[in-house]
Symmetry: C2
Subunit: 354 residues, 2 copies
């Protein structure tokens, strides 16, 4: 294990913290005083430095810009009432990061660099962690190809970084979405399970089309029949039908294995619901809606946390929900907040103390 | 039309040209003295500057790195024996660039900036154009998202650049490839027809797997049945069966509409072959091989030009070809070189004089 002595820490002399309005924090707009940076070359990771947040210089031929060899993660840190700092399930993000790295033919990042680096960085900037309810310190680890040449091949050099952003809620209102039947996010054999940059860029046009039609986002369907539910691009999705919670399975490799998705599955079981991870068709959803058994629909994600979907359209059929009467999503959200904020015991062992 | 007076040209005082070995030019490794740069913000493109090739500075939250909103093109310039400079079909790359831009929810680039900018830049660095046979000046226009914030949404700001690389052949040897049945490059409704960064990053692991198995590259198959030919990732692909040339059609939106592909179709017709753009299954290819009617298989691309495929594997069946006995691919390649290098009349109107 790399000791903290291997981290070269240089602190800023000019903190930006005083200029930050802690009560108005749009998602991902502001960054803390420091960042973590480490380069990979000649088959090895170099010295890990934590230093003042600053621009990076790159050659216009930077491989990541031309060929999209770039991955990231999203993690959150919280401060409890006693002032203790915790990160939510970072080990799961670490594992997923390296799964993404492998699929993108990038080097894996050692656990010591990812985990200990994250803790060290959060510690340095712990004054930036908002204490307001529903607020947190969003942690963004990412890695990108840094070769300066323009042939299509795996880069020989990479940069791994972590930056931090104090942030409020991602989606503030219940969402209106529709089942996307024309555009496709992922297919078995593709990269849908990886958190690579290209998955997000490719989703922007369909998402913008949704906005132009007056919706907030699309619900992606399978690539073959355009009727099996996948995910929302920034969120996994859950359907509560009767006493059963159904969410698409990870088996086909087309959706992201969300850490919040996994946490919500545990909390739903705790609430006494049956949880099924399986294929789920829009026909089944519409049928349940018509029978009155489709109780709730919501998205889950690190950034999005738990976001109610108040309207879901499929072809010409629109399903509407009275979000105020829901019980499951609010219960899960409250339980998760209580755990994250340290109001109740962390019986799942999800919190890692900094 | 933007006149040349709108281009702000600043020339370098320290040319790197003297240090370049014009007889040893690996693809995309060296760049010329100047680059073109223009920024998009507040819904409009700003001043176009041609200036000394230099690093760019960016914030670690650069949208393109996190979400892959990035596209590019590949174009080539040649110098004929009289010393005149020509660019090969840049209008077609311009059109495709903006098709990619639209799919990635990016602003289109005005023709004046793309075309006139490219010509101006090539003119400034025309001393860098290699005159050796099979060598050229590779032109790389590209655009990427420059917002400095990490929410998943279309960037509000972008940078369009052109850089130039004097270069030799991309693939020097006939290739060995196999039909990829596990990994998938593109699916209808996806971004396979666009030249976005993510398409290339996603292909690196399957390509590296091919190399680990002793092959040069994969031949992508369709996403549904894994048996209809698509493309090679950096090349479109042609099969000569009897007196017919067959290449996958563009109808499904899963392959790149190659400019070289289109040129080769014209040259094949000129040679008297029937050309069919249609679905082509590996079964049909294997059957033609067994009957002795599959004469040639080759890839086409701006970087790759025309690259013979000497070995093609499908499941356990390996098709081998005696490339030295081929006539079609060499004829097409020679005809195209003659046009590009000005040895024969450009009857297709493909060359644009600088």
């Amino acid at each position: 294990m790399i000791g903290t002595d291997v981290f070269k820490i240089t602190k800023t002399k000019n903190s930006k913290l005083a200029s930050l309005d802690m009560d108005r924090l749009p998602f991902g707009r502001y960054f803390t005083d420091h960042m973590l940076e480490v380069d990979y070359e000649n088959g090895a990771w170099g010295e890990v430095s934590i230093k003042p947040y600053q621009p990076i210089s790159f050659d216009p031929s930077l491989a990541a810009i031309h060929y999209g060899q770039a991955i990231f993660e999203g993690v959150k840190a919280y401060k409890n009432k006693a002032g203790e700092v915790f990160i939510f399930r970072p080990e799961d993000n670490f594992k997923r990061f390296n799964i993404s790295a492998e699929r993108m033919e990038m080097p894996t990042v050692p656990e010591e660099i990812f985990m200990e680096g994250m803790k060290q960085l959060v510690k340095v900037d712990e004054a930036w962690i908002p204490e307001k309810h529903d607020y947190s310190l969003y942690i963004r680890p990412f890695m990108f190809a840094t070769d300066e040449a323009i042939g299509v091949r795996p880069s020989l050099t990479y940069k791994f970084m972590i930056i931090l952003s104090p942030t409020g809620p991602y989606y503030s209102e219940p969402m209106r979405i529709y089942a996307e039947e024309k555009y496709v996010r992922a297919v078995p054999g593709g990269v849908g399970f990886a958190k690579n940059a290209g998955n997000y860029g490719s989703s922007l046009y369909p998402s913008a089309e949704a906005k132009r039609k007056g919706y907030d986002q699309v619900l992606w369907m399978d690539a073959f029949e355009h009727k099996y539910v996948q995910e929302c691009g920034t969120m996994n999705v859950f359907f509560i039908i009767g006493n059963t919670a159904i969410t698409p399975s990870l088996n086909e490799g087309t959706i992201l294995a969300g850490v919040t998705r996994d946490s919500v599955i545990e909390l739903l079981k705790e609430l006494g619901l049956n949880v099924e991870e399986r294929r789920l068709s829009m026909d089944e959803i519409v049928e349940a809606y018509k029978k009155g058994t489709l109780r709730e629909v919501f998205g889950t994600g690190t950034a999005a946390t738990i976001s109610p979907i108040k309207e879901l359209a499929y072809k010409d059929f629109v399903m509407k929900f009275d979000v105020d009467k829901w019980t499951v999503a609010p219960d899960v959200k409250k339980r998760m907040s209580d755990i994250k904020e340290g109001n109740v015991e962390d019986s799942f062992g999800w919190l890692v103390k900094v």
